[in-house]
Symmetry: C2
C-alpha cells in the first residue's frame, strides 16, 4: 500500500482506501554503507546471519555498535576469525568517556578492531570478499574475508510509502516529524509505531508505540499523550553493556554528581571470575534524584532493570540506599557506586541530602 493523498491509500493498484486514520508500522531495514552497494547480494546483515548453516573461517563485521559487537564477539568466541570496522572511534552505545575507555581496553584485548578506518572498496572474489581500507594511520590494507556482516545501523522502512503525497512534514532524513507521546505525525490522522518511527528501535518501546498508535488511531481526532518509560537499553556482549535513563552525553554536568564502582574487586564478580567492568550512576544535586547510569559489567542486564525502575520512580540516592541488598551479589557493586554518589551529594546537594545519614547501614 502507498499513500496517494493525505489519507488515501492505493493497495497494489487494485484497491483505494479512504482511511479515517492510518498506522504506519513497517519496521526498519539495515543500512548498507556505499562501498557495499555494488556487492549487496554478497553481504550478510543481522536479518540473515542466523540462517547460515556453517561457521565461516573469517568474517568482517562492518559496525561496532550493539549488533556489531554482540555478533562479532559471539562469532569470535565460536572460533571465527573476526575483524570489526568502523569509521568512528566509538564501541557500543556508551557516551560516558570512562566507560568508553574501558570498552576500548576490554574489547580491544579480545577482538581485532579497525577503528577510525575508511572502507575504500569491497569486491566479490571466488572465496569471499576482498576489502580494501585505510586504517587509522592512513595505511592501506587489502584482505579477503569469507563473509561480510554489515551491522551499520537500521533505518525506518518508509521508501515507497508515498509519504510525499501525505503533506506530512518530513525531517532531514525523510522521516515524518513525530510525537513520541502520541505517535502522531504532525496533526495528521497518521500514527507511526515501532522501528518505522526512527525513535527507539527496541522491542519494548515498539510494543508501547503499537498500543499508543492503535488507541489513538481508533479515537482520532481525540489523541491522548502517554508517558513513556524510562530509557533502558541492554546489549548482550560479555561484559554486558547497559544504558539507563539519562545518558552521560545528555547530562548537565553542573547539575549532577557521578558515583563510580569498578567490578574488578567486587566480591561476587571475583567469585564468579567475571570481575571486569565499570558502573557509573548519575544523581542530580537538586534533591539527589537518580537520573541515569551507564554500566559495562557482568549481568548488567539485571542491575539495569533495578536502576531503570528506580529512575522511573524518581528515587533519591538516599532512598535507593534504604533498599535491601543481599550478600554476596553483584548488586553490592551498585550499592558501592550509590554510596560514593551519596557522599558527593552530601556536600554539593541542594535538597537536604544529608538526611541520608539516618537510615541504618547505609
Amino acid at each position: 500500500a502507498r499513500f496517494v493523498g493525505p489519507t488515501t491509500l492505493d493497495v497494489d493498484g487494485h484497491t483505494h482506501v479512504e482511511a479515517r486514520a492510518v498506522v504506519i508500522a513497517t519496521g526498519s531495514e539495515p543500512v548498507i554503507p556505499p562501498p557495499f552497494d555494488a556487492v549487496r547480494e554478497h553481504v550478510m546483515t543481522s536479518d540473515d546471519v542466523f540462517e547460515i548453516p556453517d561457521l565461516p573461517e573469517s568474517i568482517a563485521v562492518i559496525g561496532t555498535g550493539i549488533i556489531g559487537l554482540e555478533l562479532g564477539q559471539a562469532l569470535h568466541r565460536l572460533g571465527v576469525d573476526v575483524m570489526l570496522f568502523t569509521p568512528f572511534d566509538e564501541l557500543g552505545p556508551f557516551t560516558d568517556p570512562s566507560i568508553q575507555a574501558l570498552a576500548h581496553e576490554i574489547f580491544g584485548a579480545e577482538l581485532k578492531l579497525q577503528l577510525r578506518s575508511k572502507m575504500l572498496s569491497a569486491t566479490a572474489v571466488p572465496d569471499g570478499m576482498q576489502l580494501h581500507w585505510t586504517d587509522s594511520d592512513g595505511n592501506e590494507h587489502r584482505q579477503i574475508f569469507e563473509r561480510v556482516l554489515v551491522a551499520a545501523g537500521r533505518r525506518p522502512r518508509l521508501k515507497g510509502l508515498g509519504l510525499e503525497n501525505t503533506g506530512l512534514e518530513l525531517d532531514a532524513r525523510g522521516q515524518p516529524v513525530w510525537d513520541p507521546h502520541t505517535t502522531q505525525a504532525g496533526i495528521a490522522p497518521i500514527f507511526v509505531a515501532g522501528d518505522a518511527s526512527g525513535h527507539i528501535a527496541l522491542l519494548h518501546e515498539a510494543s508501547d508505540e503499537g498500543h499508543i498508535a492503535g488507541a489513538n488511531a481508533m479515537s482520532y481526532p481525540e489523541v491522548t499523550a502517554h508517558v513513556r518509560r524510562t530509557p533502558l537499553a541492554i546489549a548482550f556482549t560479555d561484559p554486558q553493556m547497559a544504558l539507563i535513563g539519562q545518558h552521560y552525553s545528555e547530562l548537565d554536568l553542573d547539575e549532577v554528581e557521578i558515583g563510580t564502582a569498578s567490578f574488578e574487586n567486587q566480591g561476587r564478580a571475583r567469585v564468579i571470575g567475571r570481575n571486569r567492568g565499570l558502573l557509573r550512576v548519575y544523581g542530580k544535586r537538586h534533591c539527589c534524584t537518580l537520573v541515569g547510569a551507564e554500566i559495562f559489567g557482568p549481568e548488567a542486564e539485571h542491575l539495569a532493570h533495578l536502576l531503570a525502575w528506580a529512575v522511573q520512580q524518581r528515587l533519591s540516592v538516599p532512598q535507593a540506599l534504604e533498599m535491601p541488598v543481599y550478600h554476596p551479589v553483584l548488586e553490592e557493586g551498585l550499592r558501592t557506586a550509590l554510596r560514593r554518589l551519596a557522599k558527593k551529594l552530601r556536600v554539593t546537594g541542594q535538597c537536604r541530602c544529608e538526611d541520608m545519614a539516618i537510615a541504618p547501614g547505609i
Copy 2:
C-alpha cells in the same frame, strides 16, 4: 566476658566492667541434633566444610534448609554421593505450597532425599560414620557415609554469657526478648545485634543491627527506633530460591491475590536452557500494593532485588507494570506474573485498580 549483674561484666575473672550500655554481638553456632551429640567431633558443619582438602566419596547432609540444599547440591554436582536427611517434609525456605511442590519435584529428581526420616543413631566407624535411620515408611536403614555434614540450623551463641544475671526477660528458647527496631533487650541498656539476636540471620540484616545497636548503645537512654528493610532472602541453589517481603505463610489469603508465572516456557529461560521454576507474586486487594513473592528459578537473586525494592516502595501492581522491561530477559517472566496478578486485582481490588488499563503496553 559474662554478666554478673544487670550491667556488670566479669572479663575472664580478672576485670570487672561497670557498663553504661552493652552490645551483644556474639553470633551464632550450629545446632547439632541429639543423635550426633556423642560423635560431635566427627561431624562437619558449614563452619568447617570449606576446610576439607579433598572431596569425600559419600556424604550425609543433615538438614534440607538453605545451607543443606546449597552445600548438598554443590557437593552432588562435584561428584560426591550425597544423601539429605530431614525429619520434616520441607525443602528450602518456601512457604508457598505450589513452590514447595515444585522444589520437591526438581530437587527430588536430582538429589537423594530422606524426607520425614528419623535419625536413630550415628556411630563413628573406621571409614566414616554409620547412620541408622527409619525412612518415611518406617523402614530401618543402616549405611556408612565417609562424611556427615550437619546443616540443621544455627542458634544464637549466648551460652555462658550469664544472661540469667541481667534480669532480662528471656523467651522460651532462652533468648532475650528484643525489639528489632531498636535492637534493645526489654528496657535494659543491652542491645543485641546480628545472629546473636536470633532474628534474621543474614549479613545485610546483621549489618543494619550493628549500626542500630551501636548508635543506641551510644545514645542510651535515648533509644531510636529504625525502619527495617523489606525482607529479602536468597539461596544459591540451582534453580535459585528467594523470598521477598511477606511470605505466603504470613498472608491473609482473604486480602491478597496471587500472580503466577512458570519459567518452563519463559523465553530467555529457554534460550539459556534453564527453563525450570516458578514465580509467585502477592498483591493486596486494597490498593493493589505488592506485598511479597516467592521465587524458585534461574537468576532468582536478581528478580528478588527488583521485587524487594518494589515492595519496600509500596509499589502497586499497576505502577510496577509501568516500569520498563527489556527483551529477551528473565524479568519478562516477572512481568507475566504481574500482569496475571493485575487481571485478578481488577476484579477483586478495592482501590480503583482498573487504572492499570491506562499505561501503554501493560
